[in-house]
Symmetry: C2
Subunit: 248 residues, 2 copies
């Protein structure tokens, strides 16, 4: 099963689908338009629609008005006749989802949703926002990583966040941890023509540990494809121990 | 700073604000209506509005058309004059956010956003969806936990997910880990009056480990307030080691 957050018609998901067809049958369910920044959001107040728009042997493409997570839920619940997909692949995202972007990204939201449902899942993101991005250099990496996941599986509750530099020459794969960082200076405040103010969310990412060799952002800067094994259990086990000294 | 995902007018956030006023000045920024299930979603395609609706000594209340994460970003970037709040408290959510709900909840989205920005943050949720929920039994627990966080701080990248049973008698506090679980049978498929089908997202939570004594869901079932120390770093460090044997 394939999804994304840039919409079913985005070049990234089309490239991903074409690349993965050699590995098996594909059900693609993706938003009808861009849903960037939708995280693991679900739609609870609006009815969801699901429309088959393309079908050929080994490939079905659906679009939905929901979020990426809704798309995964619809696929698992309505389209696969009780069978679980062997793997859920999300992307290729137009733009990086390294570091804490795993929390904001709709592309990774789909991955986390699959993971919660016990399905091995991988998110692929290319560090190039443009619609003309060249996905070709990422092809062998996408195949190799997906084949490995199909072969080895992933532990329950674990998924992979893969980020690919937007450069023609890729140096290989590095297993990394998520870099610490955050966005800064995030609002563009403007005057409305009819009075009052409004804000556009914008800003720059700040890497809090630019020299940490084992992070995804460092690997990408060096030209490597970063693979961050990630988990849905967010428990801070060390802090449980520390808090035993609190007056609670 | 206070936020939530049920909207600035919800009884839960009003109770939280009233409870915490004795601890310091409060800036409340919350959605203008319910944003349940919005996770850590951000708004990138729509302009954001921010409106002051109440002001008295020690308390300012703003509403926004954004998500809970947008509300925290607006507060930190536009309202606090470069000062960081001592703590960000989100809730009290009308309904539990235990187990994997940390990924879907807008209330916890606000907590994660504060955490990414290096601010100690706590999410409070009551296991009662109704607008008539009785928050009173939770008052001493909210004060005690918030006072402890103000006193001890929280490690960088860590926050607390607190869930409170919807019962009048609470037995105390337990430090827990996030239970493994997921939602099942999630769609109500209906016929549209004008033809075609649509879906309502619904379903029941399935606890994959109902007998695990150290989980939040077990503690709540026993009548305890569960506190899950949580972290924004989702890296699965064990899996990094395992994957070194893969053919990558």
């Amino acid at each position: 099963m394939i999804s994304n957050d840039d919409g079913y018609a985005a070049p990234g998901i089309r490239f991903l689908t074409e690349t993965l067809r050699q590995l098996g049958d594909i059900v693609l369910v993706a938003p009808d338009a861009g849903r960037s920044g939708m995280s693991t959001a679900i739609t609870v107040r609006t009815p969801l629609f699901l429309k088959l728009i393309e079908e050929e042997p080994g490939l079905k493409i659906y679009k939905s008005n929901g979020t990426p997570v809704d798309c995964v839920k619809l696929a698992l619940n309505q389209l696969t006749n009780g069978r679980k997909p062997d793997v859920v692949i999300s992307g290729i995202n137009h733009g990086t989802n390294s570091s804490v972007a795993i929390h904001y990204s709709g592309t990774l939201g789909a991955v986390i949703e699959a993971c919660i449902n016990g399905i091995p899942a991988v998110g692929f993101s290319l560090d190039d926002h443009t619609m003309e991005a060249d996905f070709e250099p990422s092809r062998p990496y996408i195949l190799k990583i997906t084949e490995n996941v199909l072969h080895h599986g992933l532990p329950l509750g674990c998924c992979l966040n893969v980020n690919i530099p937007g450069t023609p020459e890729l140096k290989g794969i590095r297993l990394c941890r998520q870099a610490r960082g955050r966005w800064v200076e995030e609002f563009d405040k403007r005057s409305h023509p009819n009075g009052g103010t409004y804000y556009w969310l914008t800003g720059n990412f700040h890497n809090d540990e630019p020299d940490a060799l084992d992070t995804d952002m460092y690997a990408m800067r060096e030209g490597f494809v970063s693979v961050v094994p990630s988990q849905v259990d967010m428990t801070a086990f060390n802090l449980i121990d520390q808090m035993k000294d609190w007056d609670l």
